[in-house]
Structures are given as C-alpha cells and as structure tokens.
Symmetry: C2
Subunit: 356 residues, 2 copies
Amino acid sequence: MLSVTNSTHMTADTDGSRRIAILAHEKFPHEAKTATGVIRYGSDEVVAVLDRDRAGDRVSEHLPDAPDAPVVESMADAPDCDALLIGIAPIGGGFDDSWRPDVRTALERGCDVVAGLHYFLTEDEEFVALAEEHGAELHDVRKPRDDLTVSRGIADEVDAEIVLTVGTDCSVGKMTVSLELARAAADRGVDAEFVPTGQTGIMISGWGNPIDRVVSDFTAGAVEEMILEKGDERDVLFVEGQGSIVHPAYSAVTCGILHGAMPDKLVLCHEAGREVIHGYEDTALPPIPDYVDLYEDLAAPVHETEVAAGALNTVGVDDDKAARAAVDAYADDLGAPATDPVRFGPDEILAALDLE
Amino acid sequence: MLSVTNSTHMTADTDGSRRIAILAHEKFPHEAKTATGVIRYGSDEVVAVLDRDRAGDRVSEHLPDAPDAPVVESMADAPDCDALLIGIAPIGGGFDDSWRPDVRTALERGCDVVAGLHYFLTEDEEFVALAEEHGAELHDVRKPRDDLTVSRGIADEVDAEIVLTVGTDCSVGKMTVSLELARAAADRGVDAEFVPTGQTGIMISGWGNPIDRVVSDFTAGAVEEMILEKGDERDVLFVEGQGSIVHPAYSAVTCGILHGAMPDKLVLCHEAGREVIHGYEDTALPPIPDYVDLYEDLAAPVHETEVAAGALNTVGVDDDKAARAAVDAYADDLGAPATDPVRFGPDEILAALDLE
C-alpha cells in the first residue's frame, strides 16, 4: 500500500516499537542536531547512524550517555529496520543529492523515509515511485497539514498546566530543556508530555505541527490545535518554544506560539556568553530582565503568565564551578530559580514549577 | 498568451490606466471592504460595480465622495473593461459559486480576473482553461510568491523614513489610515508611497506581498523585501499594519511586520468604543498606554521606534462634537497627537510625523 503522508501522527501505529537508521553524513555528532536529538530523546530503537566520515565508530564513542549503535558507511550496511530518518539539514533545508542512494536503498528495502527538510520527499518523483513500488511511506514532517486554521483563543480551557520554553535567541536549547523537563517530570510520576513545534521535536515525538512552516495567520492556531488535542489527557504539557520575541526574522513564530499556547508558566532559556543574536551580529541581546518583562507583558492580554524559572545552556563553559557561577548570576538577573538542566539536572526548575 | 500569475506586480504594465469592474454581490457598500477600498483609493478607473441587489443604483448614492459608476446586475451588463476584481470575501475566504457566471463572462470577454480569496482562481480548472482560451490573466493576490525567505534585519538601511500603522485590534482602520496619510503626504509634495500587506491593499496598489498568507518563518522577510524594493526610491513609506500585537490569533503577523519593517514611527489605530477583541469577546483590550509600551518595547531590540501619533476611527460616533471629544481623550491616553483622519483630516498626524 502506498502511503505518502504529512500527517501529524506519523508513527501513531508503531509508537515506541520502530527500528530506525539515521542519516548524518559528515556531520555526526556535533552538527547533527536532529540525529542526536532523536538518539537521546526518541522512543525508536536506533540500529545505525549513517556517516561516511565515521564508518566503523560506535555512537557511544561520541555520545557516552546515549544508547549505543554502529556508525555505518551507507544504508546498504545498516541492519534491518523500519525507517530511515534524515538527521541533518544543510543551510536552507535542501536535499543533498549525495544522500539519494541511501534513500533509494531504504525504499527498495521497504523502509519508510522521514525528513524535516524544506525540500519535500513527497514531491520527488523518483522517491514517490519507489515508495509506491515497495510499499514504503514518505514522511515530510515539515510539511504542514492542509486543515490548520486560525486560533480560537481557547488553549487555556484544557485541564493540563501549560509550560512553554521561551528564549533569548534561537539555538539556546529550548527543545532540549522541554524534553529534559518532560522526561524528568514523568520520572517523578507526573503525567507530562512534550509538545513539539519544530522538525526535530516532531521526529523525536512522532507527531506535531511544524509551526515555522505554517501559514502565518495560522501560527497560533497550529499550536492551539496541539494543546487542545493533548491538554485533557495530561496534567502537564511542556511546549517546545521557537526563536525569540526579539529575533529580527523569527519573532512572528515566537509570538504566535506565546499567544496560541496560552502558557501558565514560562521557562526562559539562554546560553551563557551569548551577547548578540546568532546570525544577526548587529543586534545585541537586551538585558535578561527586559526579556522577562517583554514575554510576560506580551502574553498577559491573552493569558496571564510568568517566567517561573530559567534554563542556562553552559555547554561552552569548561568547568562546573564557572558554570555554577553563571547559573547563579542568571538566576539573579531573572529574579527566579535557574539551572542548566543538562549539566546539573532539572531539580531547581521542577521545584519552581511545583513538580517536585 | 496565457498568463496565470501570482506576481507582486500584477499591474506594473498597466498602472493607472486600467478600467475595472468590481464584483460585490449583495454586499455593496458596507460589507464590501475591498470594493470600497479600491473605489476610494485605487488608481484604476471603476466602470461598474456588480451587485444584483442594487442594480440600477449609482456608486455615488452610497459613497458620495468617491468617483461615480453604475451598479449593475451582472458582468454581462458591465461596460468594456480590462479586469474584473472580486471585491468581497465570505467568512473563510471561499469562492461563492453564484459568482461563477460573472467570472466566466469576464474571461470570455478577455478581461483579467483579480481575487484576494483563500480559494485560488489559478487552481480552478474551468477558469484556467477559459483564461488560456481568451488570452486573459488570473491574479490571486493572496497567493505568496515562491521566492520569499527570512528577514535579514536590514530594512533600516533604506533612505526612506518608515511609518507603520499598528492597531489595538483587527478592523480598526489601519489600511485606510495608511492610505489617507500616503495620499495627504503626496498632496503636500512629500515623495511618499503606501506599502500594502493585505489583499485589499494589494488590489488597490497593484503590488505587494500578502503577509498573512506567507510561511510563518518568512513573515518579517516578506515585509522587509518590500521595504528594500521601495525604500531608496521614496522619502517616506507608509506600511500597512495587520492585526494587533495582543490578538489571540493574528499577533504573529503583527509582530513579524513590526520587526521586518523596522519602522521609525508608529501610528496607533483604534476604534472609538471598542472594548474587546473582535470575535474574541472574552479578551478585553488592554489600556491604551499599555499598547504604546508594548509596541515600543517589543520593537526596540530590533529597531527603536515610537508611537508618534494616534488615529481614532469614529465612524460609530454620530456627531462631530462627541467624535472630537473621543479623539481628545484618545490623545490624552496616548500621550501623543491624535485625530480621525477620515472625519477631520490627517493634519495632526502629519504634523506629528514632521510631514506638514
């Protein structure tokens, strides 16, 4: 059966039981954010990483805390599996034609192929034909569904508490923080779920709307739809934020998520040492207290919220003592508890969210 | 020659010299915002309005200040012209099939057809075939171009001063205020131009990106592109704002325009008596001073701006004395000069913008 989809629930029928290979040629692990995110946080079993530069290595050599798997040269060398995920994205989100043989091999073996690129596999004639011939599925997780619409402004009517990560900039760790908090809360017995809003989060979770690709008028609505779908099933939803409210290019997405999700609490994410907007070096980050005011004041007319805690990404800080000092200074700036949940664990943040 | 387009410049080759008919069945004039906007502000010559409920009337009976034209039953009764504009939109932006005979007649007469609906004429097989057969063009002004991308954050590098209308809500008059100010400034010898961001503005101007329909990540970029195109040719650009920064559904678009346009000055538009968000009756409008702070504080990290003046829509206020009192109270709330530019003329606003 052919099934070429861009459904929200790409893995609903195989949740937690799928075996996957992940393509990350020449980029694993440090430039392969999607690959490492799926390995660390996904529920699928990773049977191989494809990286022609590191073939013969083990995943555990590069990601000591993650489940192990072999790194292989090509799809031809990968063990039996259910799907191939494209785990890297070049600037611009294009499809690198050097990946074509791997995708072809996957489809010929009957494996589904999942990508979060701006280039859509479901519009590639060769891939569509191969998928049909071999009964495989193509999933473009960055292709929004056709039935999205405007927000009704009712996300606050669900039973769950909504916790949204917001940021001082792009790429400061909002997705990771949301995933870490959802996992840690669940470990403590809280009925919590991660709500993805970007392609990596969607690949990790197997569902979700790619908010940065929807029609601009539907930005808030596409978030609201996810809250309404999950909000009465769970006690807490950790919504993945995007961008920053002062980002020259992406603030529209940030603002739409802030109003569409109607969060009860915010966790402000920042990277230690970041002083200018990434890629917009003329634009300085405002002081941290200004972010707190901006996010709270902008949210309030739609739904009152507060920055309840901060998450500081200290990956660039060498020693723990300096990282701890950076966290303390950040907490002072925020006027709220803060930590680096990856380096020091999420306890302070969970406590601030009353989820101990 | 077939030409099925969604170009920014739909009338570049015929600017100012086109003869048009406007379809506004059962809605003219009060529920036909696009039709009345094009009649009042467009540069095309309007040869007829199609409204089956008012056939035999004159436009001047309903819009005393606008150029006159007959109201006719159907396209078959319209004089010779170059194009038919769809001047109304049902809720949801669909195409009403009762309009099909008029569109068919227009195409058979070789007239172009221009629409700003969510339903795209260029995807209607019958219309595409008729356009091809009769050498007519179909223009879907709400269909974004394919080559839009993210903002570079450089709209402030153009020579022109950028004046953006922002609002307390949707449908308070931002487009009308921008058009009135651009026209009045031009009348005073200022080299000014209106920059459209929505379908009606695009129909009036014959160019522009429909910001509410672009990919959310490109919201700011689609505005910036227009500023960069026009900003070194003109001394002042009046950018049409959309939505409101506290709108539960549309704030993403508002925020993207605010950061993409990098305005030097803002004109805050409001409707006298409006107390809750239109269509979201549970959401009260914040106090006017809060809007001033929100717009200025949100813009500042990307580009410093100020609310330089206010425009109050007093269409619902019966007598001029009460309207004047409402304007005065609004100016007090704003801490800036204000007027109703339609009722009282735009002098106070132009003075506040240093464009007397």
